[in-house]
Structures are given as C-alpha cells and as structure tokens.
C-alpha cells in the first residue's frame, strides 16, 4: 500500500468508527434521557404520558405514611403550589425527611399515583437539588406577582 492509500484507509476507518459511536450514543441518549417536572408542571399537563420522569419537590410535613406490612411508603411532594402523592417500595435514603427537597424517579399509574422506582435525597442536609430549588423559586415568583 502506498502511504497515500494507507492514509485514506485509516481516515475511512476512523470515520466509520466515529459514525458507529455517534449512532450508539444517540440511541442510548434517546432511551435514557430523564426529564424533570415539578408538581405544577404535572398539573399543567406538561408531562408526556407513559414515560418515566423525575418528580421533585419538598416532602410535605406529616404526609409520610407507611404500610403496616412490607416496605411501602406514601408521601406528598409539593412545590408550594401543587402537590402530588408518591408511592415507593423499598429503603428510603438516609436524608429522606419531612420538609426536605427530594427527587423521585418513576411514572404515574392509571389511578394518578406516582409510583417511584428510586428516591434521591442528598448527602448534605442543607443541600437542595438544583431542580427543586428552581421549581420553588418559580412558584415564589408566580405568587408575588399574580397576573
């Protein structure tokens, strides 16, 4: 092979590799992107049906209810404007607490209950997930200048 042909072959190989990689990445992205919605956005009907997403808000004080058997737990998430009830079965993270900002991953079942596969709370008790903080700010802004 001449150096020129060799270079052509290697360029073609690299481009083919890049193409395959891009294809893989895009398919993987398509399947695994998780959107975040606040209870208000849920109430406004912004959530596409039948897809799991992340719901975030503050755990309403006094809303945590445990099933007497098993590990089921119900709690209410609020962004101070709207609320949604979440059901989760499993071990809650250590920093899950009433009044704390948390994120639940899952989807609504046909009765309108949000069934979470995973609940995330953060390492630091002063830490608020940025998404939740932004949702709360939005509510506060909407409350201060009603249109």
């Amino acid at each position: 092979m001449t150096p020129r042909r060799k270079r052509m072959v290697s360029v073609v190989l690299v481009l083919a590799g890049m193409g395959v990689a891009t294809g893989l990445i895009l398919t993987a992205f398509e399947k695994n992107l998780m959107y975040f919605y606040s209870p208000s956005e849920v109430a406004a009907g912004e959530v596409p049906a039948g897809r799991s997403f992340r719901l975030g808000g503050l755990v309403v004080e006094g809303s945590v209810l445990r099933s007497p058997q098993g590990l089921g737990v119900w709690f209410t998430l609020s962004d101070l404007a709207e609320e949604r009830v979440v059901y989760y079965e499993g071990i809650l993270p250590d920093l899950f607490r009433e009044g704390q900002g948390i994120i639940a991953k899952g989807q609504f079942n046909n009765t309108g209950l949000f069934v979470a596969e995973e609940v995330l709370a953060k390492h630091d008790e002063n830490y608020m997930p940025p998404e939740v903080a932004a949702a709360l700010e939005k509510t506060a802004a909407a409350g201060s200048n009603p249109q």
């Binding site: 092979m1 150096p3 060799k6 072959v9 290697s10 690299v14 590799g17 890049m18 395959v20 990689a21 893989l24 990445i25 398919t27 993987a28 992205f29 399947k31 695994n32 992107l33 998780m34 959107y35 975040f36 992340r54 445990r66 007497p68 058997q69 098993g70 590990l71 079965e89 499993g90 071990i91 809650l92 250590d94 920093l95 994120i103 995330l120 953060k122 390492h123 630091d124 008790e125 002063n126 830490y127 997930p129 940025p130 998404e131 932004a134």
Partner: protein, 660 residues
C-alpha cells in the same frame, strides 16, 4: 495568630509562584542562565510556604480554633483527632489548599528529579507549573480563604459531614488529588516542549515516569472512592455514573490513552501531535473535574453545598490555561505529519486505535455529564442522563478495546503480519473458546450473554499476556532466567493488563449475578438469598463519641453452617442532624455478604437491605494490580539511565537550549 501566619504564608507562596512563573520563562526564551536558575529555588520556597500554610490550618483544626469560619463550619470538639485533621479537606476551601499543596509538592519533586534535563526545558516546565499555582493561589486568596476569622467565634463547630467521618475518606481525597494534579506535570512538559520547539522523543521519555505516576495515583484514588461509596453510602453500589465520579473517570480514561501514546512517541517517534494534544486534554479534564465538583452546577449524589460564583473563576482559569496551551499548540505544534512509518498491522496501529477508542469513551462520558447542563443553560428543560446510557455506550466501546489490547501487547513494533499473529495467538484463542463454552454450559447462551462476553474478554487479556511473556522468554537461551530478568517496564505492563482482566471479571460477575433484596425484618426473622440464610439476631444500642446509634446483628448460614456474623449500624449525628448507615459486610474473594439497615419500623422491625455480591472485591483488586503495574514500570532503570546519560550531555544541551 497561627492562622494569620498561615494566611501570610499563602501570600508569600503567591509572590514566589509569580517569580517561579515569570523569570524562568523569560530566561528560557532569552537564554539567560541566571534568570532560568531562579526556577528551582522559587519552586522549592513556594512549596515550603504552602506546607506552612497547610500546617497552620491543621493546627487550627487540631486545636479546635472555631474563630476560623472554615474550622467552625467543618469540625467539632467531639470529633476524634484523625477526623479533625481529615476535615481539613472536608469542604471547598481546605480541599483547594490541598490541591495547591499537592501541586507545590509535585513542582518540588520535579526540581529534585530533573537533574539531567536541559536547563531551558526544566525552567519552562517549572514556570508553567508556577502559572497554574498562581491561578489557584489567587483563587484561594480572593474567593475561598480558609483563614478567615469569624467574630464572635461560635462555642463549638458545626461538625464534619458524617459521611466523611470514615477512614476511607481520610485518604481518598489526597490520593485522588495527587493523581489529578499530577497530570499538571505532563501538561507542563508538553507546553515546555512546545515552547522550546523540541518535540522529539526525548521529551516523551522524560514525561513518561511522571505521567505514569500521576495515573497510578488517580487509579488508586478512583478505586478508593468506589470502595468507600460501596461500604459507606449503604446502597451496596460501587459505581453510579455520577457526575463527580465521571469527573475523575474522564482524566483516567484519557490519561490511560496518554501513557500508551507516550510510550509509542518515546520508542518509535510517532503520534507526536496526538500525544501533546492528549497531555493538554487530560489536564483540561482534571481542571474541569475540579470545576464540576466545586461549582454546584450538577445534581449529584456527591454534590455538597457549593457556591456557583467560585465555579466561574475555575471556568475562566480553565479557559485561559487550556485555551493558551491549545493556541500554543496550533502555533508551535509539530508541523510535519510524516512521522515514522508503520504498517497497518503493527503495535503502533493497535495503540493508535485504542487511543482513539479511549478518547471516544471519554467523549461519551463527557457528553452524558455535560449535556444536561447545556440543555438547562439554553432553557430547554431539566433532564438527567441515567446509568443505562453509560452502560449502553461503554460496553460496545470497551469490547474492541480489550481485543486490541491483547493484540497490541503482543504485536511487533513497526511491522507485523496478521498470519504470524494468528499462528502465535492460537493458544489464547483456544483458551477463549474454552471459557466461552464452559460459561455457556454453566449459565446458558441467552441468559448469560453479559457473563460470557465479560469472561471471554478477561480470558483474552490473561492468555495474550501470558503468551507475550512466553514469547519474550523463549527468545533467550535459558527461558527461566529470562523470566526473572524481564525488564520492569514489561512486567509492569503485564501486571497492569492482568489488572484490567481482574476488574472485568469483577464488574461482569457482580453486575450479572449480584442479588439484592429490600425487606422488613424483625429480630428473629430470616431470609434466604442466593443460597445464604440471613437471620436478624438482635438489635442493641451503639453510641459513639459524636453520634447515637443502633446496631443490628445478623448471622449468615449456608447449608446450616455458620458463615459469618454481620453487624450493621444506623447512626444519628446530633450536631448535623444527619442519619448515616454503616453496612455490615463480610468480604470474601468470591463473594461479599452485605447487610444495611434502612429505617426503624413498628415493633422493633427494620427495613433491611440484604445483598450477596459475587466477586465484587475483584473490581478493586484489579485496580490495585493496574496501579502496581504502573509503579513497577516507573521503577524501570531505563528512565534513570536515560537521565544519567542526559546528565553527561547536559552542558551541551543547556547551551543549545539557551540558543533557541
């Protein structure tokens, strides 16, 4: 008073860093020996002052000086001394000081271990490290000074985040940072080579031991972090594709490409452009990692309370340092693309292909990590990219990488023949077929696809490595003597590659066959999992120096015979009002038994997580092997011999370098 001395020491360090950055650089351009000779003393003096500053902060922590805002926010008088000291890097300001300390130590190490290199080159390396140091010292003094007083001082401190009160976290950050910051040496070597225009294989030879050492630290640091997450977070997971983990993993992936590319540049004078670009990119990713961890822009399980304004400074600094280096590369980079010739079937080709694959892997991780930020910045919604994305992309990239790894460590430089490779690799191929057949028979072809793939890849690495050793020894008259005589460089390579195989076995088996159960258990209850019976015996009070806790005891039996007694704890740290899980783990070479407490339920019952994790230790064992391989390779006499040879010619070299 001592805190003020610490503050003063930092200011002095900044002044010295400016000297270290400016004079040697100008001196090297002008060929002025007296200006260049300022490099080493300035770097060493800077190091002394940074050590003093660090000691001052350590003194404040040890003596509970809560008049320092940083100490008050991160320590408490009830905290044991070891944790009071590790609390130095428990938050932003202190970890930055640790960053600067490690940079100063690396710089000082360069001044001591570069005796034989041309003076102009060393001066430039030290000056570039000085520039980085100036940036970080400015950052610290202006935005995150750990020595600020708080008046009136609080009676007691707010305590260290309980999650960080763990032996693993005493050593994890320093080791990880040593790796991160160590890549600044490779970066400085690359920039110095660009500045001096000496882009021959010599700079690669000088940069190699430093780069490998940084990579070793990063490897150990990441493994420690993973191990800590496994036993301390109480989820039993070892890798979460969390943005902060990705921040350390990206420089590791690209750093792996860099150490291999450097080897090719040194030995065969190829890939010069690529190696320089990698050296710059790896350090850029280290800085980006620092930015991501500290800026609070990412939602992460690791994101502690952070301050976005500081992130902006690091981002600007990143832009200046990396942008400057890339501009220099565009301006002074190697012009001729006609580097040494090599055939498509040669070690060079395989190394290049793997370099590209590692870069693709890094890019996919970078994309998955930054994409949510970009989408958010454009107001297009809030999204996150989950672990399934990374797993889906990573396996297809890593599979060819491992295949090429086997071929590459075995192929000849410059030119090899596919027929020869095939003939020589018939035993490894046979071993792979055997493993594939064996695994298929055990787990079934359909259900066990992951396991078969993983084990075959591991078998491929092990068998090609062994074949490579055999090939090398056979050439000699007495193969056994040759085995003992193998150069450390080669042994290190073999050990590190075996480490990759061991890690792959761990990842494969724990992902495919790890079992995990959440359930409600009261004392006396038992559950059966993967052939093990876990019985909750009793719970009792377990109170420590700064927490109140409950301890639960579990007995694990297999076929009626007692295997282990596990104690899992739940602790409540009063000062921070934080609850922590201490998992009960019985570690074993072929399996870990894992129990963690969730929350107390009615009637003395607890929610409990019970897991059996086959071969999970192999993950970290493999990382230890990889790191050890790096250490063995660094010990190779080749690197030292080269330097002593350079010493003899150093006068000429200094003279020529001065003339450029």
């Amino acid at each position: 008073m001592i805190a003020e001395l610490g503050h003063f020491a930092l200011t002095m360090a900044l002044a010295l860093a400016v000297l270290q950055a400016v004079f040697p650089l100008i001196g090297a351009q002008r060929g002025d020996v007296s200006w260049m000779s300022m490099a080493k003393p300035a770097a060493r003096a800077q190091c002394v002052f940074v050590v003093l500053a660090f000691a001052a902060l350590a003194h404040a922590f040890a003596n509970n000086d809560f008049s320092l805002a940083y100490v008050a926010a991160n320590s408490n008088s009830a905290l044991p001394l070891a944790y009071r000291l590790s609390a130095i890097w428990g938050a932003h300001e202190g970890s930055l000081l640790l960053w600067v300390l490690i940079l100063a130590l690396w710089s000082a190490a360069v001044t001591f271990k570069s005796g034989g290199l041309p003076m102009a080159f060393v001066s430039r390396v030290i000056a570039v490290m000085g520039i980085i140091s100036v940036g970080f010292l400015l950052f610290m003094l202006f935005t995150s000074n750990p020595f600020l007083r708080q008046i009136p001082p609080p009676l007691d401190g707010a305590d260290l985040n309980p999650l960080l009160q763990d032996p693993g976290l005493i050593i994890h950050p320093p080791v990880l940072y040593t790796g991160y910051v160590g890549f600044s040496v490779a970066f400085s070597f690359a920039v110095a080579a660009l500045l001096g225009g000496h882009l021959d294989s010599a700079w690669a030879r000088w940069a190699r031991p430093w780069t490998i050492l940084a990579w070793v630290f990063l490897t150990f640091g990441i493994a420690l972090g993973s191990w800590w997450a496994y036993y301390e977070l109480g989820w039993g997971g070892w890798w979460f594709w969390d943005p902060v983990e990705n921040a350390s993993f990206m420089p590791w992936l690209l750093g792996t490409a860099l150490i291999h590319s450097l080897a090719a540049t040194e030995k065969r004078d190829v890939f010069k452009n690529w190696t320089i670009l990698l050296a710059i990119s790896v350090f850029a990713l280290s800085l980006l990692g620092t930015f991501m961890v500290r800026s609070g822009v990412l939602t992460s399980v690791h994101a502690f309370a952070t301050d976005p304004t500081r992130g902006v400074f690091i981002l600007i600094f990143l832009g200046v340092v990396v942008g400057g280096a890339l501009a220099l590369y565009a301006w002074r980079g190697p012009r001729s693309l006609a580097s040494a010739d090599f055939a498509p079937t040669s070690r060079e080709s395989f190394l290049l292909a793997n370099s590209v694959l590692l870069s693709v892997a890094t890019a996919t991780v970078l994309l998955g990590t930054l994409y949510p930020l970009v989408i958010d910045a454009f107001g297009l919604g809030k999204i996150s990219v989950g672990p399934p994305y990374f797993n889906a992309v990573f396996v297809p990239v890593m599979t060819p990488l491992v295949v090429l790894l086997g071929l590459g460590q075995f192929a000849h430089w410059k030119r090899d023949h596919f027929d020869r490779l095939l003939a020589a690799l018939k035993y490894p191929l046979f071993a792979c077929v055997l493993i594939a057949a064996g695994t298929t028979a055990m787990v079934g072809a359909v259900t066990g696809v992951e396991a078969i793939l993983g084990l075959v890849l591991a078998a491929w690495i092990v068998s090609t490595t062994v074949r490579g050793i055999v090939q090398r020894c056979r050439r000699r008259q007495r193969p056994l003597d040759a085995l003992l005589d193998l150069p450390p460089n080669f042994v290190g390579q073999a050990v590190a590659h075996l480490g990759v195989a061991v890690t792959i076995v761990g990842i494969t088996l724990v992902s495919a066959y790890g079992v995990d159960k959440h359930l409600r258990m009261a004392p006396g209850d038992a559950v059966e999992l993967a052939g093990y019976e876990f019985r909750f015996d009793a719970s009792r009070d377990a109170t420590g120096p700064n927490y109140a806790g409950t301890e639960a005891q579990f007995t694990v039996r297999r076929n009626g015979r007692q295997v282990a007694i596990l104690t899992a704890q739940k602790r409540h740290y009063a000062v921070r009002n934080a609850t922590m899980t201490e998992a009960g783990i019985d570690a074993g070479l072929t399996r870990d038994l894992y129990v963690a407490l969730g929350e107390p339920l009615d009637g003395g019952a607890w929610s409990v997580r019970v897991s059996v994790k086959p071969f999970v230790r192999w993950l970290w064992l493999g990382a230890i092997l990889m790191g050890s391989g790096g250490i063995i390779a660094v010990c190779d006499r080749r690197f030292r011999r080269v330097i002593s040879r350079a010493t003899r010619g150093s006068k000429d070299a200094a003279a020529t370098a001065g003339a450029t």
